[in-house]
């Protein structure tokens, strides 16, 4: 087959995380058959799963978190009872209850586990050992596993799909301990098994995952006429129901009303997770609390759903997954992410058609994208997101990280803190968000920082061949060749259009 250098660049950068350094030969391999290079990843069984020793299930993690929270509470109470001892605040993750507290988040993001003391309290006695902060440890382990996987993946298309769907169904670790604890397991259990499976299955797994139920408050939502509603002080919370329709399925113009939001909220009352005491199920697992479920049939989008317990909501989700608005909404978002901020209408129509015809088969959707001509013809005008930028850099330098701390800091600086988007609509996806002056300047500053530690064994001119091969422009080649130092050359390479655009 003839070599296609431009196709190779698209295969690696538009659909993947860029070429790996070392002896990977990615750009050469991709150039012989760009489409086949990307498709090969999809053919691998269970390509998206991430199972490593040490990564635990949501349920196990939940139980570990409950135990930790109890320990903190008891230690605090004991300290209060002991004369002479002053209460010490828990380490950051345990206090991190507010999604809008950047300082706390920063601590967790950067691994700063310094104890915080009441500002006006006397100094606590030394050597009060705090229990290990399991929330923070888990978050770092999960993040590391994800970053490592993306760093070593062949082209990275499957990992890019994971990131896309994870952002579509995002939660924010900033919401509090459970969200931080479960951010990784949520992605492993509710996203990864389905990125090459059925949309409807992913939807159900997401909306029944404890992390999502916590993030959008559904574990607190109580049917007003349920047993719990009649005796209790709490009632309906429509947060999750609204975002299911607005952000997860139909899209904002998708044809639902306020009445539909309220209906869906009632339908999914009782969807929660079991707490430490395990009254309604295994602690830390999804549970249907019949006592909190709103009794009776509900009308949603003109259809009546009889009260069949948890299956009432499952039936509603299945129909939302199959709704024509969902196909349209997903097709657009998918094409916008991978191809262009304003994707060609013909491509959108084809993707929408495939989604509908295959009943939301996401592998078929991915293949339809790869098989289209548009996906290979549209100019590489999108800027890499900060996450893509940092992962691509690590791949190019062939460094498999052993600590995620620097990635956390870099992502935070560039405005895309890991698993912590500003709202339930996820991180923005487009040049308007990322190709902005301060963002570019910070990318440059970061590239310069990374380059200062470049070992002398690396030749930036050869690295340009690794990145782009024959697709590299003569201007970029010259700019790198004429650089004053290796460090400067690498900075320029990392900031070159060949590296930043996709």
């Amino acid at each position: 087959m003839a070599r296609d250098p431009q196709g190779a660049l698209i295969a690696l950068n538009r659909f993947g995380f860029g070429a790996r350094g070392g002896a990977s030969g990615d750009i050469v391999n991709a150039a012989s058959d760009p489409r086949g290079f990307v498709k090969a990843e999809l053919a691998r069984p269970n390509a998206a799963l991430l199972e490593l020793p040490g990564l635990q299930s949501t349920t196990e993690l939940g139980q570990a978190m409950f135990a930790y929270q109890l320990e903190v509470k008891m230690a605090r109470e004991a300290a209060l009872k002991t004369p002479g001892l002053v209460p010490v605040e828990a380490p950051p993750a345990a206090m991190d209850k507010k999604p809008e507290a950047p300082a706390n988040m920063n601590n967790a993001m950067t691994g700063n586990t310094t104890m915080t003391v009441q500002p006006d309290a006397p100094k606590p006695p030394p050597a009060v050992a705090l229990p290990p902060n399991v929330v923070q440890k888990t978050y770092r382990a999960e993040a590391l596993a994800r970053i490592q996987r993306a760093t070593i993946a062949e082209g990275g298309f499957v990992e890019r799909l994971v990131v896309f769907w994870s952002n579509h169904f995002c939660i924010s670790a900033g919401k509090g301990d459970p969200a931080r604890m479960w951010a990784g397991s949520f992605e492993r259990e509710a996203i990864r098994p389905y990125v090459l499976g059925k949309f409807a299955d992913m939807l159900k797994a997401v909306e029944q995952h404890p992390a999502m139920l916590f993030f959008l408050d559904n574990q607190q939502s109580i049917g007003p006429n349920s047993k719990a509603g009649e005796r209790g002080k709490r009632g309906l919370n429509e947060n999750l129901a609204r975002e299911i329709m607005e952000l997860h399925t139909l899209g904002v113009g998708g044809g639902y009303t306020q009445a539909d939001v309220t209906s869906l909220a009632r339908i999914i009352t009782g969807w929660t997770f079991a707490g430490r005491e395990g009254k309604i199920g295994t602690p830390g697992s999804f549970a249907f609390n019949a006592n909190a479920h709103e009794p009776g049939p509900q009308q949603l989008l003109g259809k009546t759903y009889d009260d069949t317990g948890v299956t009432q909501g499952e039936a509603a989700l299945a129909d939302l997954a199959r709704h024509p608005s969902t196909a349209k909404f997903i097709a657009r978002k998918f094409a916008q992410h991978f191809v262009a901020d304003a994707p060609p209408p013909a491509l959108l129509a084809r993707l929408e058609g495939v989604f509908r015809k295959t009943d939301g088969d996401l592998k078929a959707l991915a293949l339809a994208l790869l098989d289209s001509n548009e996906a290979w013809q549209m100019p590489m005008a999108k800027l890499r997101t900060p996450y893509e930028y940092l992962i691509s850099t690590g791949r190019l330098l062939a460094r498999i990280p052993e600590d995620p701390g620097r990635y956390f800091a870099g992502l935070q600086t560039l405005g895309q803190p890991l698993w912590t988007p500003p709202g339930p609509n996820g991180f923005p996806d487009g040049n308007a968000a990322w190709a902005v002056p301060e963002g570019m300047k910070l990318r440059l500053d970061l590239a310069a920082q990374i380059s200062t530690r470049l070992p002398d064994s690396i030749d930036p001119r050869e690295m340009l061949d690794v990145v782009a091969g024959e697709a590299a422009s003569s201007e970029t080649r010259q700019t790198i060749a004429r650089a004053e130092t290796r460090q400067q050359a690498l900075t320029l390479l990392l900031m070159s259009p060949e590296f930043q655009r996709r």
Partner: protein, 406 residues
């Protein structure tokens, strides 16, 4: 990347939660700022993203239905943490004593039961309408403040230490060039490297060349130590900090006159809290931010108006989780020496069952555009026609509110 990353990115280097607070400004001085007359108006628009509970912030204590609807989180006239009386009917949230003081001094006003023209309940569409100035969602190319600025004669370029923040709020996006600032702390790349990269971008990628050159040029001027991010703190400190930095920039002779800020985090679905709690903390941050503008702008405060607005309100009745869901009518706040203040501007619809919008929300009786137009007209001298056609397209029937500016 182990070997190649810098220690500079370690835990001692912090940056603010960038999406949580952003500041951007018009890159030029309006011509009239240089005019011989003493008037040199400044305008700050603060967008609260997430939908502020107006009924919790400025509580209609005199409405017989308020206490029942807002239930466990309702403010009270008396007792500990009582609301601060604004008049015989409305009470200010106790977390906002600075605003209440400005109000007493007639330098702040409240607009109540106000809403944009948007009547659905999606945050993202609601923010688009609030910030774009169009009657409906889906127009996100430019914001009303940017188009208002386009009607002003352009003077010299502002030259304070400004770069564009990681994101410019939509309200200020558009054809009129903007600058911004975000407190981020990362050592700069060498000038020579930046120049070489600029050259490459000019040859190969003009869009990135434009972006980077703005980022570099405006970042050159040091902004002073007190504007660097500090460790510790929280959302409240972050709001104050951004406001402090913004005020410092705007107070300079060649600093921007027209700016926008956005603060996130107002989506209080659960455990909103009453006089103390989650919303109270955020309001405390907002109050602190207003105080920072007042002190930071110094002598210019007398010519300043700060407008605070949000995409929509929240349900009148609290939901089942001691919070409020997406609603409609809410408040807008005006603060600054140029405000004809000391009053709550409201055509109060009442909270009785039949009076609520769709039987759940405070009914909007004032169009937010009327308020914004009134400010733009009286404070910046933008013509009614430009306001009706260009700034808020197809809004001729919404007349500018009169007498907002002192």
């Amino acid at each position: 990347m182990d070997c190649c990353e810098s220690r500079m990115l370690g835990p001692t280097r912090r940056s603010l939660l960038l999406s949580g607070a952003a500041f951007a400004a018009w890159a030029y001085l309006p011509k009239f700022a240089r005019a011989a007359d003493a008037r040199d108006p400044r305008l700050v628009v603060v967008i609260l993203r997430g939908a502020l509970d107006g009924l919790a912030t400025v509580a209609p204590l005199g409405d017989p239905d308020y206490a029942g609807l807002h239930g466990s989180i309702a403010l009270a006239k008396d007792g500990p943490n009582a609301a601060i009386a604004l008049d015989s009917f409305f009470g200010m949230h106790p977390a906002m004593p600075e605003f209440a003081r400005m109000y007493r001094d007639k330098k702040a006003a409240v607009v109540h039961a106000v809403a944009t023209s948007y009547r659905e309940r999606s945050h993202f569409d609601g923010q688009d309408v609030l910030e774009s100035g169009y009657a409906g969602p889906g127009r996100v190319q430019s914001g009303w403040l940017n188009r208002a600025i386009e009607s002003l004669p352009r003077g010299e370029r502002v030259s304070s230490g400004l770069a564009i923040g990681p994101t410019t709020p939509l309200v200020l996006r558009g054809a009129a060039p903007t600058v911004g600032w975000a407190p981020v702390n990362l050592p700069n790349a060498a000038d020579d490297t930046a120049m070489r990269l600029m050259q490459l971008y000019q040859d190969r990628d003009p869009a990135l060349a434009t972006a980077l050159s703005q980022g570099l040029k405006l970042d050159k001027i040091a902004v002073g130590d007190e504007m660097k991010p500090k460790g510790g703190g929280n959302a409240v400190a972050a709001m104050r900090q951004v406001a402090r930095g913004a005020a410092k920039l705007m107070a300079a002779d060649d600093g921007p006159r027209i700016a926008a800020l956005a603060f996130d985090g107002w989506d209080t679905h659960a455990q909103e809290g009453g006089p103390v709690g989650r919303l109270a903390q955020l309001l405390g941050g907002l109050d602190g931010a207003l105080a920072e503008f007042e002190s930071g702008l110094g002598a210019h405060w007398k010519d300043t108006i700060v407008v605070v607005a949000t995409e929509f309100g929240r349900t009148a009745k609290i939901n089942g989780t001691a919070g409020t869901d997406h609603g409609t009518g809410t408040i807008a706040l005006l603060a600054g020496g140029a405000v004809e203040g000391g009053r709550v501007i409201a055509d109060w619809p009442g909270l009785a069952n039949g009076k609520l919008y769709e039987a759940r929300d405070l009914a909007p009786t004032t169009d937010l555009r009327a308020i914004l137009k009134g400010v733009l007209h009286d404070h910046l001298g933008i013509s009614e026609r430009a306001l009706a056609e260009r700034v808020f397209p197809d809004s001729g029937m919404v007349k500018p509110a009169k007498g907002l500016v002192g």
